[in-house]
Structure formats: structure tokens, C-alpha cells
């Protein structure tokens, strides 16, 4: 990871990839902790459609919430602690498996039983 980088240019909207190389969402928002006059630190990433509404222009927010859902942590959006990020490059690499980070929403067991595919 670079010592210095810009969040929108390099991190926001980038692909999340877990330790097995599995794609598991995008960086839909970034969580910063701090305040004016104090250090403001990157503490986490948010991923999931629940994070979309906050990104869209204010006038479309209600429509966005209706379409994409509210930010319900654990279901429509998930938080990934910054400590779980191992690298920010072409993609954002995570230290552990998607399932261990709660990012396995794209898992649908029934399709496992269908032959072929």
C-alpha cells in the first residue's frame, strides 16, 4: 500500500478481493473516525447496496432508499474494518476469506446441486 493516496481516486468504487482471490463486492463508502481539529482516521470500508443511497445526490435519496434499501448493517451493507485490508492496488485485497468477513452474500448453495454450469 502506498504511503499516501487519495480515497476517491484509489479506494472508492474499487473491487474487493478476498484472500482466495474471490471477488466480494466493491468499496461503496469509506468510514472515517475523528473530528474537525483532531486526527481523522480511516477505520473501515462499507460495501453493499445499502450504502448506495448515501452516495447518490440528496434529492434522489428517498428514491434510492426505496430501490436499493436502507443501510442495514449485516444485511444490505457490511462494514469491513480497515485492519482487514492487506493492500490497495488494482483491487482492494483483504486478509481473510469473504465468508469470514461476512461478505459471502453472493453464495447460493442451491446452485451447487445443479450439474454442469
Amino acid at each position: 500500500m502506498d504511503e499516501r493516496f487519495d480515497l476517491v481516486y484509489r479506494l472508492l468504487d474499487d473491487q474487493l478481493v478476498d484472500v482466495d482471490g474471490r471477488r466480494c463486492g466493491r468499496v461503496d463508502d469509506v468510514e472515517l473516525t475523528g473530528a474537525a481539529g483532531e486526527p481523522l482516521v480511516v477505520t473501515g470500508l462499507l460495501t453493499g447496496r445499502g450504502a448506495y443511497a448515501a452516495r447518490l445526490p440528496a434529492r434522489w435519496r428517498r428514491l434510492a432508499r426505496a430501490l436499493f434499501g436502507r443501510d442495514v448493517r449485516g444485511s444490505t451493507a457490511r462494514r469491513v474494518p480497515w485492519t482487514e485490508v492487506s493492500d490497495v492496488g488494482v483491487t482492494v485485497a483483504l486478509r481473510r476469506r469473504a465468508a469470514d468477513l461476512g461478505l459471502d452474500g453472493d453464495d447460493w448453495r442451491p446452485l451447487d446441486r445443479v450439474p454442469g454450469g
Binding site: 472508492l12 466480494c24 466493491r26 452516495r55 453472493d106 447460493w108 448453495r109 451447487d112 445443479v114
Partner: protein, 406 residues
């Protein structure tokens, strides 16, 4: 030697996969109504798609980012979402039009309701996709699509007036709105966005790296270049057979006649086979393009190489595209009208997806030494202007000519 063979086979598949229902409809009608006068529009479209595909393929090989990854990354969520929705909409119309084409062709063999054949066609395609790996799909539909060379053979066999053909490559500024509608349609039919989403995602599916850039260039130049010959073959044979008779092919079933007249039953069967696989292959590509777009935008796992269970949302997405395409057809809309709408509306959405790719392709921080050279660079911008112009006039011309009805 084996590598050369593999590359050649890939290019051959690309040639056979060039034509879809939009090209068939617009080229045959253009030839029927305007003879050779619209020949010049085809190379413009072919050059455009070759350029766009080469850039997307290069970006995908070097950065491992297919088109919608680039779009989300460069345009962000809000603008990217607008582009996504527009793309998904035109993609859906295209899937419906292609399935409709398959249904129409199957209907030539048996007497049964069109919707039944559309359904059977969709089921057959979905089954083939399910069991055949990615590369196999491209080969299967691409090789069978080569049968469309029968139209090129027909065009040559019928002995056109080569002087008129040559003159057709010189653009003429006519005052007929129908003429310009066809110009837009011919260029747009060659430059369908789904082809590019599919091509760039395919580059990642097949694990292309910087070492595959030559293949990418050959695919784009030779594959699409020769593929364009198929379009010209359709137009020239239509100019020779339909134009003098005043016949405008308003049913897909009249197009195979162009091969039957010179070559009899053999010609007819080759034409039908080629059309069936070219259109069917396009239905596959278009539904995958839609699934790639949404999965890449959202960050889901995607790719045929992941198997259905490895990329469940992606799998459900392309299945859903087939289902929604069928639903569009069930509204009773005429598949050829649907084809024209899908082609025209696609070109309106095209600049939105073209520009981000062009900007990445010329960005050294992403592409390193593989950044746009002088040719791709200048042509790239020239075509952006061409696309914007075409996009702006497309809908007015569609309305003014009542979708080509005159």
C-alpha cells in the same frame, strides 16, 4: 505452431460471430432499397467496432478491468449507475430481438406459434450455455456463423456491376431521410455495445495478459474486418436480387432467398444455418453482456469460468435476461421493429460507455507502455465525435422515417 493455430481459430470464430440480427436486417434492407449506395456506411461501422474492441481488449488484458469495471471506477456510483441502467435497457432489447430472430427462423421449419419457438430457442440456448465452457461457446456459434459466407458467394456469383459497387463506397450526401436512417442503422448495427462488453469480459475470462495484445489486435482487425465482408455480402446480394424486384425484406424469412436463388437448396440451408447460429450466438453474447455489466458494476463474482455455483448472482443475471427477453417478445412486438429499436437506441447509449474506455486507454498510469499509440489515439477521438453525431441524430431519424417504413 499450435499457438498460431489457436489464434487463427479464435479469429475465425470472431469472423463468424460478427453478424447479428441487426446487421442482417439493416444490410438486407439497405441493399434492397438503396442498392449499392450505402456500401460506404459499413466500413465506417466495422472500423469503429474494430477500434473500440481493440481498446477494450487492450485495457482488459493490461489492467484486468473489463468495461463496466472501468466505468464504475472512473465515473463513480452516480454517473456509473445511469450508464448501467441505460446499457441494461438496450441490452435487454437486443436480447429480445435476437431471441425473436431465432424464433422467426425456427418458425420457417414448423407451423406453430411464434412464442413457442421463441421459448424453445431460449431454452436451447440457455442449456447450451449451461453445459458448454466459455471458449467452446465462442467456437460453436462462431464456426457455424461462417455459413453466412454463402451470401458473399451469392453476391459474387450473381455478378454485380462492379463499377456501381465501387461507387457505393463513396459517400453521397443525399437528401433522403430514409437514406440517413440507414446510415445510422448500418453503423449502429456494426457497433453494438454488447459485443464490446462481452469481448472485454471474455478477455478476462480467458486470462489475457500483456502477451495477448497481438492476438487482441488481430481479432479486432482481421476478425471484425473480414466479418464486415459478411455484411457487405448481404447488402450486395440484396442489391442484386431485391432491389430490381422492388422487394423490401420485411420478414426475416426472405433473407435466405438471397442464397437460394443462386445456389438452390444448399444455399438456403447454409443461409438458415448461418443465420440461426449467428443470431443465437448474439443472444448468448447479449445476455452475458448484461450479466457482466451488472455483476462488474456491483462487484459480484462473475464469469463462466467460475461455474454457476461460483458466481451465483452472475448466473441468475443472465438467466433473468433470457427470461425478460422472452417477456418483451410476449408483448407481441414485431421482432424486426424490435431489432431496429434495439440497434438505434444502442447507438444512443454508446458514447457513454465509449468515452471512459477511451480515456483509460490513453492514460499512462493505467496502461504503462501499452497506452494508445498515434493511430488509436487520433482515431479514437475522431470516432468519439462520429459516435456523438450518430447518437444525436439517431432517434430523430428513427421517428422521422417511422423506423425505416419510409
Amino acid at each position: 505452431m499450435k499457438a498460431v493455430l489457436q489464434i487463427a481459430l479464435g479469429i475465425i470464430a470472431a469472423i463468424g460471430g460478427f453478424v447479428d440480427i441487426g446487421d442482417l436486417v439493416f444490410n438486407s434492407q439497405a441493399g434492397a432499397v438503396f442498392g449499392y449506395e450505402l456500401m460506404w456506411a459499413v466500413p465506417i461501422g466495422v472500423l469503429g467496432i474494430g477500434l473500440y474492441a481493440e481498446m477494450c481488449g487492450r485495457v482488459a488484458a493490461v489492467t484486468k478491468r473489463p468495461v463496466f469495471d472501468v466505468i464504475r471506477m472512473r465515473l463513480g456510483l452516480t454517473t456509473g449507475l445511469i450508464v448501467l441502467v441505460a446499457s441494461l435497457f438496450v441490452n435487454l432489447l437486443t436480447v429480445a430481438a435476437e431471441i425473436g430472430g431465432v424464433g422467426l427462423l425456427l418458425q420457417l421449419f414448423f407451423d406453430a406459434p411464434f412464442t413457442l419457438f421463441a421459448l424453445l430457442g431460449a431454452l436451447a440456448l440457455a442449456t447450451i450455455i449451461w453445459f458448454v465452457p466459455f471458449e467452446g461457446l465462442e467456437r460453436l456459434f462462431g464456426y457455424a456463423g461462417l455459413a453466412l459466407f454463402v451470401f458473399v458467394a451469392a453476391a459474387l456469383y450473381l455478378g454485380p456491376d462492379w463499377h456501381s459497387v465501387a461507387r457505393g463506397f463513396v459517400p453521397e450526401a443525399k437528401s433522403s431521410t430514409l437514406y440517413w436512417y440507414f446510415v445510422v442503422g448500418l453503423v449502429a448495427a456494426a457497433l453494438m455495445p454488447y459485443e464490446v462488453y462481452f469481448y472485454s469480459s471474455g478477455a478476462v475470462e480467458e486470462r489475457w495478459g500483456p502477451g495477448d495484445l497481438r492476438v487482441n489486435r488481430l481479432n479486432a482487425v482481421i476478425g471484425y474486418g473480414i466479418g464486415g465482408l459478411l455484411s457487405l455480402g448481404i447488402m450486395v446480394s440484396a442489391a442484386q436480387l431485391f432491389a430490381p424486384a422492388g422487394v423490401s425484406p420485411d420478414h426475416l424469412g426472405t433473407v435466405p432467398l438471397l442464397a437460394q436463388v443462386p445456389f438452390g437448396e444448399t444455399g438456403l440451408l447454409l443461409a438458415l444455418l448461418g443465420m440461426l447460429f449467428a443470431i443465437g450466438g448474439a443472444a448468448v453474447d447479449a445476455s452475458f453482456a448484461g450479466a457482466y455489466s451488472i455483476a462488474q458494476f456491483a462487484g459480484w463474482e462473475w464469469g463462466k469460468y467460475r461455474r454457476a455455483s461460483g458466481a451465483p448472482r452472475f448466473t441468475l443475471a443472465w438467466l433473468l435476461f433470457f427470461a425478460l427477453g422472452l417477456i418483451v417478445l410476449m408483448t407481441g412486438i414485431d421482432p424486426l421493429d424490435l431489432t431496429e429499436y434495439s440497434v438505434v437506441l444502442s447507438v444512443v447509449a454508446l458514447p457513454l460507455t465509449y468515452l471512459p474506455v477511451l480515456l483509460i486507454a490513453r492514460d499512462r498510469t493505467f496502461m504503462g507502455d501499452h497506452v494508445n499509440g498515434a493511430i488509436a489515439g487520433s482515431l479514437g477521438w475522431v470516432y468519439f465525435v462520429v459516435l456523438v453525431v450518430v447518437a444525436v441524430v439517431a432517434i430523430p431519424l428513427l421517428l422521422a422515417t417511422n423506423a425505416g417504413a419510409g
